[in-house]
């Protein structure tokens, strides 16, 4: 009786997971089809807003891999994004690298920057790690201002190349980039590697006792997160045509990324994209009320956090879940 119970409940759980997966799959498929048709009926303005939102989606998804899965409070996602963005922008301006090589070079630079930050910082836990990542952003910001002659300082600098002129083309670049990143990050999060990361995030000591190399796994998470963040930062620069502290490094951007990921649902990867689209669209929609728009967005996010801690996607996928 007891073993049968076990098998039964185990089977149910596996079935539930399969259903959840397929429900998510269909939701995403429908959403992607709808998103692919946007350029045929929406104005250039809407396309522009969504393009920005998609890049933010990748920022938030990269952050979720580190925070949701590995449990590392990274307060400074814009360190990785900023390194990628500035590396790509400066290589494009000074070394004459064209858009795609510069983008990959930016991603590589973000990985190197991420390694330099992570190797020592991963010795730290919780708030200490959070502070180091925050300080990394502040130092990067200061460095950019100090070397204003090369970086354009606080005003930023224009890059010679852009991805495309046509808003629809730019939109599709962003959409494809977000979809591919989301698929790869989701695949990674659901792989054995992702499960180990999740275990490490929840109880590092027990994960270590089970024989998993905690530092190695966290480092891999950091590198993957850095790669996508850096690449998104680089592409964002080539979409905007400029690189500036206010667009890719400022702490306000960090806060937006964190809000987007938490709103969308932690430990879901795709939730980050959902949260980012909502956040950017809501800020645009609320622009007429001026200063209060940030207040309203923050209040909505706080309410979601308090009443639906699982975020949009958690609420959508398990509406009645208690945990």
């Amino acid at each position: 009786m007891a073993p049968a119970d076990l098998i039964d409940s185990g089977g149910k759980r596996a079935g539930g997971f399969g259903l959840l997966q397929s429900r998510l799959f269909w939701l995403v498929a429908v959403a992607l089809i709808v998103m692919a048709t946007v350029p045929s009926w929406a104005s250039g303005y809407v396309l522009g807003v969504l393009t920005i939102a998609y890049y933010f989606g990748v920022f938030a998804m990269g952050w979720d891999l580190l925070f949701g899965y590995a449990g590392e409070v990274n307060f400074g996602p814009t360190f990785l994004i900023g390194v990628g963005a500035y590396a790509a922008g400066m290589l494009n301006s000074y070394a004459g690298l064209s858009v795609w090589p510069a983008t990959f070079a930016g991603a590589a630079a973000a990985v190197i920057g991420g390694l330099m930050l992570a190797l020592p910082a991963l010795r730290l836990r919780g708030p200490y790690f959070g502070l180091i990542t925050l300080v990394a952003v502040l130092l990067l910001q200061k460095l950019i201002v100090v070397f204003a002659a090369y970086t354009g300082g606080e005003i930023g600098m224009t890059v010679p190349s852009v991805l495309a002129i046509d808003p629809s083309v730019n939109y599709y670049y962003a959409l494809v980039f977000m979809a591919v990143s989301g698929a790869l990050l989701t695949a990674m999060a659901r792989s054995p590697m992702g499960l180990i990361l999740q275990a490490i995030g929840q109880d590092p000591i027990e994960a270590q006792a089970l024989g998993f190399n905690v530092t190695k796994h966290k480092l891999v998470a950091f590198i993957v997160s850095a790669f996508f963040s850096g690449m998104a930062g680089a592409l964002f620069v080539f979409y905007l045509g400029t690189v500036s502290v206010g667009a890719v490094v400022a702490l306000g951007i960090d806060v937006q990324i964190i809000i987007a990921a938490v709103l969308g649902g932690r430990r879901t990867i795709l939730g980050g994209a959902l949260g980012a689209i909502f956040l950017i669209a809501a800020s645009e929609y609320l622009r007429p009320i001026g200063e209060l728009s940030n207040f309203v967005v923050a209040a909505v996010a706080l309410a979601v956090l308090l009443f639906f801690p699982g975020g949009f996607l958690g609420w959508l996928l398990h509406p009645r879940a208690k945990s």
């Binding site: 409070v73 130092l139 923050a298 208690k322």
Partner: protein, 289 residues
């Protein structure tokens, strides 16, 4: 002369940093909360002080500002922190992360709310005492000296309170071992609520003094939280003496950099030292881990 200037200015700046950070570290010690709305509470106090001073004079304004600091701390606790602490929907090990995110959002709401209701421009409260005093051969505004004195007076009173009154001792005990205190029959939630009030008082005083010294604006919310966070981690989370030492190290480094190099990179050496300390001694100067 310049050395004396750095000595005096650095002393006052550091005392102010220290006062701002002590409340932050006590809250962490007693209830394990890193309040990222810290700067928001300081700026609320500063802004109310400025606003009330317009119609009631500087002293009543300062008093109102401190009161607003206490009120803001209580609102933060009851509206943001406590619901998460007691939420059945959030897993215990994730509460820390939720509180960090929620207080961050709350800080944005405070910042934008103040910018909307009052102004986003920096406001300066008139000095509590006018005039200039020559001190150690440096002509310093009397108000600046008063700020140093008030800060240390408050810190001294806090020391007496924590070590020589029953309530204060229970706060100290709650910071060392909350569970032990609960086992001894103390009402821990009541002590935690009280500590938030104490924290509001400290942050409020620091905010008002800051407004009389260099002014405050809603745009400072993040910076103020950041500097308190750095100081507290540097000194060791939960350690009041550690925070004070860290406040002096960071305060003097910033002042010296501003005078000797350029104010533009004021924070950089302090940040670099902070990174170094965290790598070499992750628990901070006097941290318990």
């Amino acid at each position: 002369m310049l050395a004396m200037q750095i000595l005096v200015d650095g002393f006052v700046v550091s005392a102010l940093y220290g006062l701002g950070a002590i409340g932050f570290t006590i809250i962490f010690g007693v209830s394990g909360v890193l309040n990222l709305a810290h700067g928001g509470i300081m700026v609320t106090a500063a802004m109310i002080a400025w606003w009330a001073a317009l119609s009631f004079g500087t002293y009543w304004g300062a008093l109102a500002g401190v009161g607003a600091g206490v009120a803001a701390a209580y609102v933060t606790y009851y509206l943001v922190v406590r619901p998460i602490k007691f939420s059945p929907k959030i897993a215990e090990e994730e509460k820390e992360i939720f509180i960090l995110t929620a207080t961050l959002l709350w800080a944005i709401m405070i910042q934008e709310g103040i910018a909307y209701l009052f102004t986003s421009n920096p406001v300066t409260v008139r000095p509590l005492v006018p005039g200039v005093t020559a001190f150690l051969g440096v002509r310093t505004p009397t108000n600046e000296l008063l700020i140093g004195v008030v800060c240390w007076l408050v810190i001294g009173l806090l020391y007496l309170f924590v070590n020589h009154t029953k309530l204060g001792k229970s706060v100290l005990a709650a910071a060392i071992n909350p569970r032990g205190l609960a086992l001894l029959g103390f009402d821990l939630p009541r002590i935690q609520a009280f500590v938030w009030g104490l924290y509001g008082l400290l942050a409020g005083i620091a905010g008002v003094l800051l407004a009389t010294f260099i002014g405050a604006s809603s745009n400072n919310v993040g910076d103020l939280t950041g500097s308190a966070f750095s100081i507290v981690v540097f000194g060791g989370l939960g350690s009041v003496p550690g925070s004070l030492i860290a406040a002096y190290i960071i305060g003097y480094f910033e002042t010296a950099t501003a005078y000797l190099v350029t104010p533009a990179i004021r924070e950089m050496p302090a940040l670099a030292i902070l990174v170094l300390v965290l790598y070499l001694r992750p628990q901070g100067l006097l941290g318990r881990r």
